[in-house]
Symmetry: C2
Subunit: 251 residues, 2 copies
DNA sequence: CGGTTAGTTGAAGGTCTTCAACATAGGTGG
DNA sequence: CCACCTATGTTGAAGACCTTCAACTAACCG
């Protein structure tokens, strides 16, 4: 049985109940998710292997560490948190995934997921069975290339986080994260200056290698400096250049 | 003109001058580098695209950040350091690559190398032109799968470093690096307890997000605790279990 | 052999953490 | 719908760990 889903949208708050099929060709995230030079016929083939049957409730897991690796996932709506649990039970957040972004690729190397993924809010994902993707990739060099690039991109992003953790102060780390989220919102044609953080302070601290208290203090400081307006999870960037300076990432 | 090279070996200190061709089939690193279920015919095809014409002097660059991406590289002998330079001129070491390991994959995503790579000592590498590799991968599903896995592996390793930087103390970080090097030596049938560090204290600190002074102090402390014997770059692990405990990575 | 680079050690200082108390938000049942 | 309860977030004070600065020693290289 095929479940017909609503059109992909950033928030699940306004679910469209019209019963028509989403596909990669008409998905408005495809410029983020699949910036491919694929023939429309190719897109159809890709579309055929993708499963859209996974709406997730808040806090629900998409997969867990050491689960069998079967698929990678593209976020259609909501936000997914990826994290590892260290052997002494601590959590390390390895990434936040917004609509259009792809997660789960760290599971390829060992045929088992290297991290867990859970929804921070109601979320919908496209499941891409990896075996099918591999087969299709041998037939479509563009697709193969795209996935090589996606994997490589994940590496460069991890390296940026490594640099951030290794070299930057608490202020700089938080500023960098805010800029990252802002940029990713802009890419989805959402406001770059006003947004709601889907993750908790704990998650932010965990991702940035800081304690909750430090994150909270940084937000207070930024607010005092009129760089940010912070109202619980609602963020407004009042001074983008100031935030950029604060991040001190050069570029 | 084809340059005939000596057999791959871990240290370049004892160069064999016999003039015979190395190939993937007879390379003693192939179990690390290509643990593939490839037919010997396939290995020949792979072998044909690989170029072995790159002996590097100490401090010589293999590639630099933002160079055009053409190839990935397998280390045959010596050690390569990968690093990024932040916009304010600081260096962030992103990895050390030992014989049998593959680097340069972070360049795929943007067709430009995302980091620089330089030899820490005399080194030899196998250059694998990526365009050829892609073409061959469409024909050899096993090879495609292998490279997906290699990329994925790099991601999981970066995530481990992220966790290390985010959660672990200076002692734990240095201990973890020593264990990592020890394990990689063992994989190459070298001593797991005695080795010479190819990198400087600065590089270690840079990789682990610590200052040189801290690294030095950690080594002194470990020596005082009879966990390690440190004589400049010569390391002897006196108490492997103690080192493991010190790393506090669980597992 | 001299000069430079790399590594070690000590003392002081800074940034983030820890511990603790309090405030606010969010969800549930009366 | 409000009261309550728990989870989440904020703020302060003390302390820990790592850094910074400085001096010195040891290794390396021409």
């Amino acid at each position: 049985m095929t479940i017909h889903l609503t059109r992909a949208q950033d928030t699940a708050s306004n679910p469209c109940t019209h019963d028509y099929q989403v596909n990669c060709g008409n998905c408005r995230l495809n410029s983020i998710c699949l910036p491919l030079a694929l023939e429309s016929d190719d897109i159809q083939q890709l579309d055929d292997i993708i499963q859209r049957s996974k709406p997730l409730q808040k806090h629900q897991h998409l997969y867990r560490e050491s689960d069998d690796f079967q698929s990678v996932y593209a976020v259609r709506s909501g936000t997914i948190k990826a994290y590892k649990t260290t052997d002494d039970g601590q959590e390390q957040v390895t990434g936040f995934y917004f609509p259009g972004e792809i997660l789960g690729m760290d599971g390829i190397s060992n045929n088992a997921h290297a991290s867990s993924a859970k929804a921070l809010e109601t979320a919908a994902v496209c499941e891409i069975p990896f075996a099918s993707l591999e087969k299709l990739s041998t037939l479509m060099p563009n697709l193969q290339r795209h996935f090589f690039k996606l994997l490589s991109r994940e590496i460069t992003e991890d390296q940026q986080l490594i640099t951030l953790l290794s070299k930057n102060s608490a202020d700089e780390r938080v500023a960098a994260l805010m800029l990252s989220i802002s940029g990713r919102n802009a890419r989805r044609k959402l406001s770059a200056t006003q947004f709601r953080l889907p993750m908790s302070r704990v998650d932010i601290g965990n991702y940035l290698g800081l304690t909750v208290e430090t994150v909270s203090r940084v937000f207070s400081r930024m607010q005092k400096m009129d760089v940010l307006r912070v109202d619980n999870k609602e963020i407004e960037i009042l001074n983008p250049q100031g935030l950029q300076d604060m991040a001190n990432l050069g570029s």
